[in-house]
Amino acid sequence: MALMPIERGKIREYAAATAAARPAYLDDPQAPVPPTFLATVVFWTPIGETLRSPEVLRACAEAGVAPDLGRLLSLEQEYVFHGPPPHAGETLRTAERLGDITVKRTRDGRAMVVIRFTVAFSDERGDPRAECNYTSAYVQRPAGAGERP
């Protein structure tokens, strides 16, 4: 749980970094966040704590996969907004929860522990504003160079 102020300068920086340098993002003091902007929550709180939870570590041990954060693959990210996206000047409250854990195989037969978790964002009134649903995987080290996850 952490507070995340939505800052105009950060939106400007993020928009520039994603080739989204348009007036709505650059010039409006109450600029909306770009669709994937809430990924910057990591400046306010470490996310992925659920990736080190006992359930995940147990699944990795059983599958023979090292839960090495440096080798974590991001398979999917989904941002859901309840109405217009948050805008500069707001402060959001965040909370992370673990979804489910499944063990799969890569195309070349390596074990892969797939974890789904959610970071939820609510506003000062306590209303839900957005969720980011992450699907990430710890994958067994490849024998050679791996092109695909």
Binding site: R22, P32, P35, E78, G83, P149
Partner: protein, 134 residues
């Protein structure tokens, strides 16, 4: 934009060729400083021939492409699935096709199938975007 009917396509937009500058600028902006995206030696130790781009940079480009056409404040859902890694020098093309028009929370919306592909046609990211429409 006009003509949001199922099957309609947005004009395509090209990004890149991806440079290390693109990658580190996104990493700085996003706070994801995983060295696998800018340190070739680190990436080789992990089994890749060179540092790989950030999946979320591609997602961010796709998001910029969609908001340019449908409005910055109109996004309601944006889902991206990463299917192929990207290396420096790859050029990426964004495309989108209208899947359906529907109503949710008493708001008319459009759903788009979005895609980012390399010049050889291989798909780097596919996903779904939903935007409120007037």
């Amino acid at each position: 934009m006009t003509g949001l009917v199922p099957g309609a396509r947005l004009p395509e937009r090209t990004f890149g060729p991806v440079t290390l500058t693109d990658i580190v600028r996104y990493q700085g902006a996003s706070g994801d400083l995983n060295p696998i995206h800018h340190d070739d030696e680190f990436a080789r130790a992990a089994g890749f021939p060179a540092a790989i781009s950030v999946g979320m940079l591609g997602a961010g480009w796709l998001a910029a492409y969609c908001t340019e056409h449908l409005g910055e404040a109109a996004v309601r859902r944006f889902r991206t699935r990463f299917s192929l890694v990207v290396y420096r020098g790859d050029r990426l093309t964004a495309s989108a096709e209208v899947v359906r028009l529907f109503e949710q929370d008493r708001e008319p919306r459009v759903e788009l199938a979005v895609r980012l592909r390399k010049d050889d046609g291989s798909v780097v990211i596919d996903g779904t975007a939903e935007f409120a429409v007037p």
